[in-house]
């Protein structure tokens, strides 16, 4: 049994112009101690799908799924109070903007101890000691002193360490990191990623890393899910994905990495992600795809088998990475 299992998750937001589908038919599986990277451009629904698992979406969101289970319990079938016993304890999350994700009116010590009191019921002294221990664990110097400091008195990197300390306070089984390094300096980025991997090693927690940085993926992940316009378009072990992408979008993303560039001009993906009003009838990537054929324009592709990276594509790439197989009608039924 997987630790976290989500089947066919769809999230729609009520907007003044009608329903907007941010996530469509996404599956997420996370096993104990595993590192899963979820990559995609801004607006590809990678954060929204994880926020849906956490139950942190605003009231305008409608969540539907065949299954959304943690340790075999469906999160939608338990009461909100029971769910809050899991959220923050067994499943924790850290966010992109450390500076704005901490409450400016309370000391970081108060905020970290609050999580400890909520879930572990430690007494004041035990909470204090555990908070110091956590600060040491995430590499915050002079932890005793730092507990009494307000978030605006620390740097972004330090605040992100506080966020991580808060998230791992109750030894979660799953840690969801939503672009944890995007707002930070490059030097700090590496430190934070190393810290996350180290903690995962030590505490045996599973890590879901949301990012748009392929470099981060290559360094940290074991399995990679590629999202595009709310759909998961491909999922593979990291070596496979970098070695042999099946979906043209994955291939295009990889080709756009400066490290992989072969010519003087960096390849780009023409066009933009479809929005609320210009969603294609067929494959969502078809308007930007170099290999799109007639069927891609009219019929939405279904995910293929694991041997083809679950690619949502009528014409997955051949091993040379440049040509595609002929469209197979049956698969897209």
């Amino acid at each position: 049994m997987s630790l976290l299992e989500v089947r066919n998750l769809t999230v729609e937001f009520a907007t003044s112009a009608g329903q907007f589908r941010a996530v469509e038919g996404v599956d997420v599986t996370l096993d104990k101690g595993e590192v899963l990277a979820i990559v995609g451009e801004s607006g590809s629904g990678k954060s929204v799908s994880m926020l849906a698992v956490m139950g942190l979406l605003p009231w305008t969101a409608t969540i539907t799924a065949d299954r959304m289970a943690f340790e075999g319990r469906d999160l939608r079938e338990i009461t909100p109070a029971e769910r809050r016993k899991i959220i923050g304890k067994d499943i924790a999350m850290i966010f992109q903007e450390p500076m704005s994700s901490l409450n400016p009116c309370f000391t970081v010590g108060f905020q970290i101890k609050e999580a400890l009191r909520q879930h572990l019921g430690l007494d004041r002294k035990a909470r204090h000691n555990r908070a110091i221990e956590l600060f040491e664990q995430v590499g915050i110097p002079a932890p005793e002193k730092r507990l009494n400091v307000f978030p605006h008195q620390m740097s972004g990197g330090m605040n992100q360490r506080v966020m991580i300390a808060m998230a791992i306070a109750c030894n979660p089984k799953v840690l969801i990191a939503d672009e944890p390094t995007t707002a930070l300096d490059v030097t700090i980025q590496a430190q934070i990623l190393d810290l996350l991997l180290e903690l995962r090693e030590k505490n045996g927690m599973a890590l879901a890393l949301i990012t748009h940085d392929m470099g981060v993926v290559a360094e940290t992940a074991e399995r990679v899910a590629v999202h595009y316009a709310g759909q998961k378009v491909e999922e593979q072990p990291v070596a496979g994905l970098f070695g042999r992408p099946y979906h043209p979008y994955t291939a295009a993303l990889l080709a756009a990495l400066p490290e992989r560039a072969t010519s003087r001009i960096l390849p780009t993906i023409p066009g933009v992600v479809p929005g609320q009003f210009d969603r294609p009838a067929g494959c969502l990537f078809a308007p930007r795809c170099a290999h799109a054929s007639a069927i891609c324009q009219t019929r939405p592709p279904l995910p293929r088998g694991a041997d083809e990276g679950h690619a949502r594509c009528h014409t997955p790439l051949l091993p040379d990475g440049k040509t595609v197989a002929a469209p197979i009608e049956e698969v897209s039924q």
């Binding site: 956490m54 139950g55 942190l56 109070a81 809050r84 016993k85 899991i86 959220i87 923050g88 304890k89 924790a92 999350m93 966010f95 903007e97 704005s100 994700s101 901490l102 409450n103 400016p104 009116c105 309370f106 609050e114 999580a115 909520q118 879930h119 307000f150 605006h152 966020m163 808060m166 998230a167």
Partner: protein, 335 residues
């Protein structure tokens, strides 16, 4: 902190002079002669009139009168009332506790109901409680205060007979003022029923005076809460698995209070202005009623001195609020 206080106190100086000038000019612009008003219906002889004009210095130029007045003020002498002949200073501070008591009660009423109403409205945005509270707030804010007072008097005093119509204390009780606050003095006097009487006299004026601040505080709390509820740190608080009560009541409210405290500070001025009407309607023996009476009597020293003291109170309260601000908002706390 001391530097900050001093620099703020320095800004009081121009305001102070402005208020003396305006109050001095305002009462003289009003038609009516204070000496004739003083004489009453019997009137007075031309000689006596001239004598009084000289005695009060009305024969001097207006500019000279202002300089004389200002000279007195700077030495702490606000003059004496034309009517009671008592120093303005003494009169003000014998009446001020009544106004202060009423204002404090009104403010407690407004804060105690306004903040929870604003929070509930924001949390249930667009739903029934929100609509109910916010439309009532709009009605409360736009209602003429005297009309609202009369409605309440007709219902609770006239028809139901639950509360007295006017005054601070039933005539059955008498005791020497100790603190000037009727609620405290009535308890100190030890007379049975006196405290009850004090409370029942306070209820309607408190509601009337507190209505506008209540509406403003509720609306301000709601909009501040709505803004705060969209912040990232609220999502973090929810991600910790905290209960909605704790997320809204601790994490959100603490941040939302920052603008609300500013509004509460500004409301103190409104409250004193509102007190003038409320006190007049309920015959509440405070400075509001005193000011109105002295305007009708053309009691120049009282109007000038009273306005000056009220303005000083407002300035001091606003300074206090600014200092309090630092306690609530750590970002501007000075260490």
């Amino acid at each position: 902190m001391l530097r900050y206080l001093l620099s703020r106190l320095l800004t009081f100086v121009p305001t102070f002079f402005g208020v003396t000038l305006i109050s001095f000019a305002f009462i003289r612009v009003l038609p009516g002669d204070p000496i004739i008003v003083m004489a009453g219906e019997r009137g007075l002889s031309e000689e006596r009139y001239q004598e009084l004009v000289r005695q009060y210095g009305f024969d001097k130029s207006v500019f000279q009168q202002y300089v004389d007045y200002l000279g007195g003020v700077l030495q702490g002498d606000l003059g004496a009332s034309f009517v009671t002949k008592k120093p303005v200073w003494d009169e003000f501070f014998s009446l001020f506790p009544a106004t202060l008591e009423l204002s404090i009660c009104a403010m407690i009423f407004a804060v105690a109901l306004g903040i929870p109403a604003g929070v509930i409205a924001a949390v249930n945005r667009g739903k029934l409680p929100d609509r109910l509270f916010m439309s009532s707030a709009l009605v409360g804010y736009s209602m003429p205060i005297f009309w609202w007072a009369l409605l309440l008097i007709i219902l609770f005093s006239g028809m139901l007979g639950w509360t007295p119509v006017s005054g601070r204390m039933s005539l059955m009780y008498f005791f020497e003022p100790v603190t000037g606050f009727m609620l405290i003095d009535s308890l100190l006097s030890g007379q049975e029923g006196a405290f009850r009487s004090a409370v029942s006299h306070l209820i309607l004026p408190t509601i009337v005076l507190g209505t506008i601040p209540l509406a403003v505080i509720a609306r301000q709390t709601r909009s501040a809460m709505l803004e705060v509820l969209g912040e990232d740190y609220i999502r973090t608080a929810r991600a910790k698995g905290l209960s909605p009560a704790r997320v809204n009541g601790v994490h959100a409210l603490r941040n939302a209070l920052i603008p609300v405290v500013t509004v509460i500070g500004l409301m103190v001025g409104t409250l004193l202005a509102g007190a003038i009407l409320t006190e007049t309607i309920f015959s509440w023996p405070g400075i509001g009623k005193w000011m109105v009476d002295s305007i009708f009597r053309r009691d120049y020293p009282v109007v000038q001195g009273g306005l000056l003291l009220i303005a000083s109170m407002v300035m001091i309260v606003n300074l206090t609020v600014d200092v309090l601000y630092g306690l609530i908002n750590p970002k501007i706390r000075r260490r």
